[in-house]
Structures are given as structure tokens and as C-alpha cells.
């Protein structure tokens, strides 16, 4: 049986005073998932934003011409 710590290798001494004040249980697994794939979300968002920026710039240039 896998446990959370066996999957992601978190050690008790890494745990600090993270300040969670939510009145809802945000769910340990849900919080962990976001942290684990933060890089993926971040990269996809950066790529999408860059593409949109380039496309908008090109369209604006075309309009000027």
C-alpha cells in the first residue's frame, strides 16, 4: 500500500508552519497535486501567454500596414 510520503518522499523535517486558514478542508492530496505539477501549469500558461502576445503583436502590425 502506497502512502503519501512514500509517493512523493516528503520527510517530517521538511514540514514547517505553512499557514492554512481555509474554513474548508482544502484536502492534503489536492494541495500536494497543485504543488507537484506547478511547473507544468506554469510552463503551459507561459507558452500560451507568449503565443497570444506574439499573435496579437503580429495582428496589430498587419492592421497598421
Amino acid at each position: 500500500m502506497y502512502t503519501l510520503t512514500s509517493i512523493v518522499g516528503l520527510l517530517p523535517d521538511q514540514i514547517s508552519s505553512a499557514n492554512f486558514l481555509a474554513y474548508l478542508d482544502p484536502g492534503a492530496g489536492s494541495m500536494l497535486l497543485q504543488v507537484l505539477i506547478a511547473g507544468v501549469f506554469s510552463s503551459i500558461f507561459f507558452a500560451k501567454s507568449s503565443l497570444t502576445y506574439v499573435r496579437d503583436a503580429l495582428l496589430a502590425k498587419k492592421k497598421k500596414i
Binding site: F20, P26, L32, L33, Q34, F41, I44, F45
Partner: protein
């Protein structure tokens, strides 16, 4: 506190609560929420969301106060015409509610705030559009912190939408028994394997469910140590919202339903008498002069629109989710603001549920109309729903003072179709018995045969109506 009544529906969040005094609904904002409420107002977020009809408007009032010790302020929110719940919504209604929640989260992030909850019950349909009704759902955004409402969003919106899209459209009814949304492990089990081929569903449902199982019982703060916490940047949060949005956009409605959505297109018998029926319904509505109408068994809402087009708020109920879906899409296409299509099985209406059975009130306890329309419905209730006519008359009497009802005779083609499998074993059904049962509670103002059919349209008023 004399004359005040605490709302049974808003106890979860310690930031504040709703209460009623003198028939007016107020929301008390507690001192603990003061900094967030001030940010909401001072950042311009509240005003921007009011302008775009994404957050229900409110005004700050000097009183009354329910709990003076805890109170920071009291506000009076704009009232919603009819409170509805996710299990009464069609696929597109739930999808629009989900996308509205994400659009609000994006706006909030632009102004340094974030949603601290993402409950489907916080979204209502007002003036034909989904709108957030919980003013206290916002909190100051803390850089590096994952989205605390992520789990709730996936349970309340993504899981039921994915199930309705990829498994069965009727699975929105799981929301009825799971008030905090569909558990992700259940959704993951019910979804077909092909759902894992979609990146968004793989991450937000399947992997999410797996990690929830593994992490159950652990403290959320332990699952995200400080070192990792710093890695969840604002850009990552925007990426998460973006990913949820595109995952939901890609979900399409699974066709199914009960086959009633094209009833009027395929039924030539109905089309002959349709114009006359429309004229009669219009005249009867004008005579009754209601301010709220419930159209029961509304199909795709053609007759509901006779009332709605007169500026009368009309809830357009049907048992068939496909009809409600078609009705909702038509409402959007026409930019209508006075019609609300909802799913309702009259033989098993949405019950009261949640804490003390008061948190989510039963559908008939949320509001009452002035006029009920029951067109081409009575034969279904008697022959398919096995309801004696006395029961139907008594239900309608309890709901509204005015009634427009269509009697469908025994020799009508639709009645014959319903009667065929019953072998004569059904409750008493005849025009005489119909008039006798309804006549106990109502005065029959008009009974007019619908041209080209054996059907009769009635306008009735309850005996207490002058």
C-alpha cells in the same frame, strides 16, 4: 434578536451568515472577515464584478445586526428570483456555472484576491445568467499558496460535468446525494478508461483522486512543505485556472434524455391546434395577471415564453434533461432574462437535505408561484406517475392560486399510447372526474376546447381567490 431568523443555509463559513428580519434578507459580515471585505471593496473587485453581473450586488446597511459582538458590517444583497441547485441544472447550465466560477477567480487574482471556496451552490441563475451570490467567498491572495478551493471546484463542477459528458447525462443526480460534490474517487471509477487520454481529466480527476486517497488523514499543511509552497507561483495558479477552463470547454453534452425535446417538431397532431392553444394560454395569463409562473412539464419552454415575454418571471420545469438543455440554449440565444429552465420530476421533487434537512430546502419550499401551467401533463401524471387525479389537484392547490391546465381525453393519441401497456389498470380518468377533483379546490373560470383536438384548456382560480 426578536423577529430575527438565522438562515439555515449559510452556517459553514465563519466569515458571516445570512439572517432574515421583517421579511428582508441580510448578511452579517463578522469582524474576522473585515480585512478581506475591505480588500474586496477597496481593490475595486466588487464594483467590477457587480458591473459585469458576476457577483450579486449588495448595499451596506446600518442595521439590523444579528450578533453585535461578532459583527463588522451588515449588507443587504439583491434577491435571487428562484434558488436552484446543481442537480436541477442541465449540462450547459452546470458548465456555464463552472466557467463563471473560474472567470471570477481570474478577476479576483487580477485584484490581489482569490476564491476561498468554489461551491456550485454559490452560483445561481439570475436574469438568465450565472452569478456568484456569496459575497464572502473572497480572501486576500497569498503568493505561493495553492488554490484552497481546487478540491471543491473539481468535486462540484468538473467531476459531474465529466460524468455527464463521458458516462451518462443523468449522473448530475449524484450531486443530490453528495452535497459537497461528487467524490473524486467515485468519479474516477465511473468514468470510462478513455477519459485518461485527456490531459485535463487525467490530472484533475484521476491523479487528483489517487493523491486524495494516498493523502487521506494527512494535514494539508504537511503535504505542502514550505520549500514546495514557494514553487506554486501566481503564474502556476493562472495556469491551473487555464487548464481547468480548457478541460471544461472540451467537455460536450452527451445526448440521451427521454425523447421529449423534439416532441413539438414531430407531433403533427399538436401543430394543428397549437396556435389556438397559444392564443388561449395568452388570454388566460392576462386574466390571471401573475407575477411569477411555474410551467410544469414545460418541454422546451415554448409556452413558458408566452409568460416570460410579458416580463413575468417564469420557471420552466421539465423531467427530461434534454428538454431543459434545449430550453436553456434557446434562452441564451434569445438573451432572455425572465425564464429559468430547470429539471424537475414532479413524482420525486428535489427534497430537503443537508444539516437538519434545512441546508438545502426542498424545491417547493424555496418559492411559490402565482400561476401554475400544466399543459399536456395530466395524463402523464396519472398513467405514468400512477397519481390519482385527487392527488394532482391537491398538489397544484398547495402551490399556487391560479392554474392553467390542459385536459387530455382518454381517446387522445398520446393517452392511448400511454394506456396501451396498462391493460385498463389505472386510476379513474375522465373529464367529469377531472372537473370533480379540481372543482373541490378551484373555481373553473374558463374551459375551452382546443380547436382540432379533443383537448380542453382550463383557467381555474383557487377558492380563496376573490
Amino acid at each position: 434578536m426578536i423577529g430575527q431568523r438565522l438562515s439555515a443555509t449559510s452556517f459553514r463559513d465563519p466569515a458571516g451568515f445570512m439572517f432574515v428580519e421583517g421579511g428582508v434578507l441580510y448578511r452579517q459580515i463578522n469582524k474576522a472577515y473585515k480585512p478581506h471585505y475591505e480588500t474586496l471593496c477597496e481593490s475595486g473587485l466588487a464594483e467590477a464584478l457587480f458591473e459585469d453581473r458576476l457577483l450579486i450586488r449588495h448595499e451596506v446597511v446600518g442595521g439590523p445586526v444579528y450578533d453585535l459582538r461578532a459583527a463588522h458590517a451588515v449588507i443587504r444583497p439583491e434577491l435571487i428570483d428562484f434558488i436552484s441547485f446543481p442537480y436541477e441544472w442541465s449540462f450547459s447550465q452546470l458548465k456555464d456555472a463552472a466557467l463563471t466560477t473560474l472567470a471570477i477567480e481570474r478577476r479576483a487574482l487580477d485584484r490581489g484576491m482569490s476564491l476561498k471556496d468554489a461551491s456550485a451552490y454559490n452560483i445561481q441563475f439570475q436574469d438568465g445568467r450565472p452569478i456568484l451570490i456569496d459575497t464572502l467567498s473572497f480572501e486576500g491572495y497569498e503568493e505561493g499558496r495553492p488554490w484552497v478551493a481546487y478540491r471543491q471546484f473539481c468535486q462540484h463542477f468538473l467531476a459531474p460535468l465529466a460524468l455527464m459528458s463521458l458516462t451518462d447525462a443523468r449522473l448530475n443526480q449524484l450531486c443530490r446525494t453528495n452535497l459537497d460534490g461528487v467524490p473524486l474517487d467515485l468519479a474516477a471509477r465511473l468514468l470510462p478508461s478513455k477519459s485518461k487520454m485527456r490531459f485535463g481529466l487525467l490530472i484533475h480527476l484521476h491523479l487528483h483522486a489517487m493523491l486524495q486517497r494516498s493523502a487521506s488523514g494527512e494535514n494539508p499543511s504537511k503535504a505542502t512543505p514550505a520549500a514546495n509552497k514557494k514553487r506554486f507561483s501566481r503564474q502556476a495558479l493562472l495556469g491551473l485556472i487555464d487548464s481547468l477552463e480548457s478541460t471544461i470547454h472540451r467537455l460536450d453534452r452527451k445526448k440521451g434524455g427521454m425523447g421529449w425535446a423534439d416532441y413539438y417538431q414531430n407531433n403533427t397532431y399538436q401543430s394543428q391546434s397549437r396556435d389556438h392553444k397559444r392564443t388561449l394560454v395568452s388570454q388566460f395569463i392576462d386574466e390571471a395577471g401573475p407575477s411569477r409562473v411555474w410551467d410544469l412539464g414545460a418541454n422546451v419552454g415554448d409556452f413558458s415564453r408566452i409568460a416570460a415575454d410579458r416580463g413575468i418571471f417564469t420557471v420552466s420545469f421539465d423531467i427530461d434533461a434534454e428538454c431543459v438543455e434545449a430550453n436553456y440554449n434557446e434562452m441564451k440565444r434569445r438573451n432572455e432574462t425572465k425564464i429559468l429552465p430547470l429539471i424537475l420530476d414532479l413524482t420525486n421533487p428535489s427534497p430537503a437535505s443537508g444539516w437538519r434537512n434545512e441546508e438545502r430546502p426542498a424545491i417547493f419550499d424555496r418559492s411559490r408561484p402565482d400561476l401554475i401551467m400544466a399543459l399536456a401533463l395530466i395524463h402523464h401524471l396519472v398513467f405514468t406517475g400512477n397519481q390519482p387525479l385527487e392527488n394532482v389537484a391537491d398538489l397544484f392547490r398547495s402551490l399556487a392560486p391560479w392554474l392553467i391546465i390542459e385536459f387530455v381525453p382518454e381517446d387522445d393519441p398520446q393517452t392511448i399510447r400511454l394506456l396501451a401497456p396498462l391493460d385498463g389498470k389505472h386510476h379513474e380518468y375522465s373529464r367529469e372526474h377531472f372537473e370533480e377533483c379540481f372543482g373541490r379546490h378551484y373555481s373553473i373560470r374558463h374551459s375551452v376546447p382546443i380547436e382540432g383536438s379533443g383537448r380542453v384548456l382550463y383557467l381555474m382560480s383557487r377558492r380563496d381567490v376573490p
